[in-house]
Symmetry: C2
């Protein structure tokens, strides 16, 4: 039997699309799927475990990882750097596990340039009007912040054209089922199965 | 909501791969999937219904369908002609139904040239050795016929490179689940969902 290498699944989508819930339900459906562990320069919080929650590294070490091309993507938030170690992802994939990256559109573009067989999925709400309503209903954001989030979603939607798949999160269970199917079908692609076609 | 057009699913595979069983199990899993109805010049058998089992037509009518480009693919077996009417497939797809074509590699090549968004799946046994064993075990073929079937399978395997997906039928339920996932994921492709990305 040909050996089975796991897939790299990149999931992005606007804030309020319900991506986290969908991913959680997806994780419950598949035992062969894991999250990537990010490298970060921020300090560990109580209870966080090195190598499990994050790879905690110094700014110098992080910069070296970037220079050596050891990160599939990286970004800076509030002065702290975050990145996806290529090595970690490759090891899990070699074990046959699919690795899920929940990252923003800029990070996804970096991954796409480095991992040609990455499977990319953009999760969206049924419409921007529904997104506006959801943000309004949860009551945590002012009208101004909601407007900013919608503006940002519109900007991200332009990047959606570079993703392989669009999952519309109307119902989280249905959306998780679609993501599940996307992973299963990705494993059936001709390129992944052609070893089975040896005729001798 | 954008309207939902069904997919055209083309399934091929060597004799003995267990394709029929897999397709039957797939049909049980999806109520939105139907078989195409072929046009044929052969006489109706007892109980066969015009427009349900086949579209029974004269040789002249069949030739006209070919000339007018009304068939997605056609072939001749034992002096009778068989073909897939484009109109029938298009109508079912417009209703939102996925249409399944169970055809040989030559027919699949014709469909691929005419339907750019056809989803093509090649179903194979785990290995040619397993295929040989299956053909041997069912005891209906002589050793010579088995050798001929294996030769034909080898020839068909060369054409598998033109299919989108390979489904390995080790277990019919697992294979049906993969075909199911292939259809679901095909509906999530960016091209099919981009209407949801309208920002106004």
């Amino acid at each position: 039997m040909p050996e089975k290498r796991g897939k790299l699944i990149v999931v992005s989508g606007p804030s309020g699309a319900g991506k986290s819930t969908v991913i959680q339900k997806l994780m419950e459906r598949r035992s062969d799927l894991c999250f990537s562990v990010s490298a970060t320069t921020r300090d560990p919080r109580e209870g966080e475990v090195q190598g499990k929650d994050y790879f905690f590294v110094s700014h110098e070490a992080f910069d070296e990882m970037v220079e050596r091309g050891e990160l599939l993507e990286h970004a800076t938030y509030v002065k702290n750097c975050y990145g996806t170690p290529r090595n970690y992802v490759e090891q899990r994939r070699a074990e046959g596990l699919h690795v899920l990256l929940d990252i923003e559109v800029q990070g996804a573009a970096q991954v796409r340039a480095k991992v040609s067989d990455a499977v990319t999925v953009f999760v969206i709400p049924p419409s921007l009007e529904v997104l506006r309503q959801r943000l309004h209903d949860r009551g945590t954001d002012s009208e101004l912040v909601i407007q900013e989030r919608l503006e940002r979603a519109r900007a991200e939607y332009v990047e959606a054209a570079f993703y392989d798949y669009i999952v519309v999160n109307d119902d989280a269970d249905a959306a998780a089922k679609e993501l599940d199917a996307i992973i299963t079908s990705a494993c059936c692609r001709f390129e992944d199965r052609k070893e089975y076609l040896k005729i001798h």
